[in-house]
Symmetry: C2
Subunit: 221 residues, 2 copies
């Protein structure tokens, strides 16, 4: 009997100077051997305790990345998305600060625009589009973007992250009021200077309670 192919794929998202990026790797095997695609692979029944485990394993094995934020996105399925036959891909998306991706660059990972990705095999463009939509949607009313800002960051930096994701300028006073209200940041001793001759900004880090769990806002922004 013809069996359904069960895989996981991960849209690894990060924020670069020129916008939101998705990480791609050249495929090591057929189909689409040596074509750039989302990191993905078969579920291993012996070693994976669930699909999330499989996604983590794939990221670690193929890119050397242990993502600080990983969430199930959606499952893509059908007879035509994979030339090998009827397939199911449980898709995840991960958020990684730009710094962390540098290591992965050495392992062959390249970054492509997440908003206008190049041609990709399978239905990976649909997966990327869904990941970007999910990220943008959740950015409206949650702490999700913090995971793109890195381990520590200043409020002006974090505001720029939100602004890039939401694609609109935010009111500085309102933004700070919201961040205070969310009560999810811890100030880090010492401060940080930016480009130079001006007042340095306070450095913050996400409170431990919000590393794995999102903080939601009642009214958005």
């Amino acid at each position: 009997m013809n069996q359904i192919i069960c895989t996981v794929d991960v849209a690894l998202l990060t924020l670069a100077e020129d916008g939101l990026k998705v990480g791609l790797l050249r495929r090591e095997r057929e189909p689409f051997k040596s074509v750039a695609a989302l990191p993905g692979g078969y579920i291993h029944q012996e070693s994976d305790n669930d699909a999330r485990d499989a996604a983590r394993r794939v990221l670690m094995d193929k890119a050397g990345i242990d993502p600080p934020y990983l969430e199930q996105l959606a499952t893509f399925s059908g007879p035509a998305r994979d030339p090998r036959g009827w397939s199911v891909s449980i898709a995840y998306y991960a958020l990684v600060p730009a710094q962390l991706l540098e290591q992965a660059g050495e392992r062959g990972m390249t970054l492509a625009s997440a908003d206008h990705p190049p041609q990709l095999p399978f239905d990976h463009r649909a997966i990327v589009a869904a990941a970007v939509a999910r990220l943008r949607s959740k950015s409206q009313y949650s702490s999700l973007p913090c995971h793109l800002a890195g381990e520590t960051f200043t409020l002006p930096q974090l505001q720029k992250v939100y602004e890039t994701l939401m694609n609109e300028p935010l009111n500085k006073v309102s933004f700070r009021r919201k961040m205070t209200e969310m009560d999810m940041l811890d100030p880090v001793e010492g401060r940080l200077e930016s480009a130079g001759a001006h007042r340095p900004a306070q450095v913050y880090r996400l409170k431990a309670a919000f590393r794995d769990e999102l903080q939601l806002l009642e009214r958005g922004l």
Copy 2:
């Protein structure tokens, strides 16, 4: 080689007098034969064009229901959730007005509390919990609850639906302002009287554009 089991399960949600309900069917086969569970079944590679098709087919075949709203919820997976072995269940949730479920009652469907479901096989309780959480979350800021109100409904009826889902009373004036702002309802000619001696309410129906697509609110409620 041991193959992964690929199934779909559907949490069929409806609103009764005493709260949110989930539809259960007695299983026709092993495992858990004749135990009440969510409607579900194998993906059929020959006939299903994707997992959503499988979910529709399962609902139609086993309950005779063509749900007005059906959305992918999440995928549950692991070696232990199904005694047959490592399995993947692509879970969906469907919203059905109470009226529509009456037909299904004749086909053996029973309703259980969705908030406090009885013991269920597999990880069906987790699926129900996820479906309820998703519904409640989306009710805050979208037109989703309309699909529980039936084909046509009055604004007071719709407000009660929202109130039940959100588990809090809503301001009448604000609620109506929001509904007007969302601009998703068409008034139906004629009116409707409720329990009797008082002014009848205008009957509305969802505009066609919002039958399959949700309308989202900027600020919630």
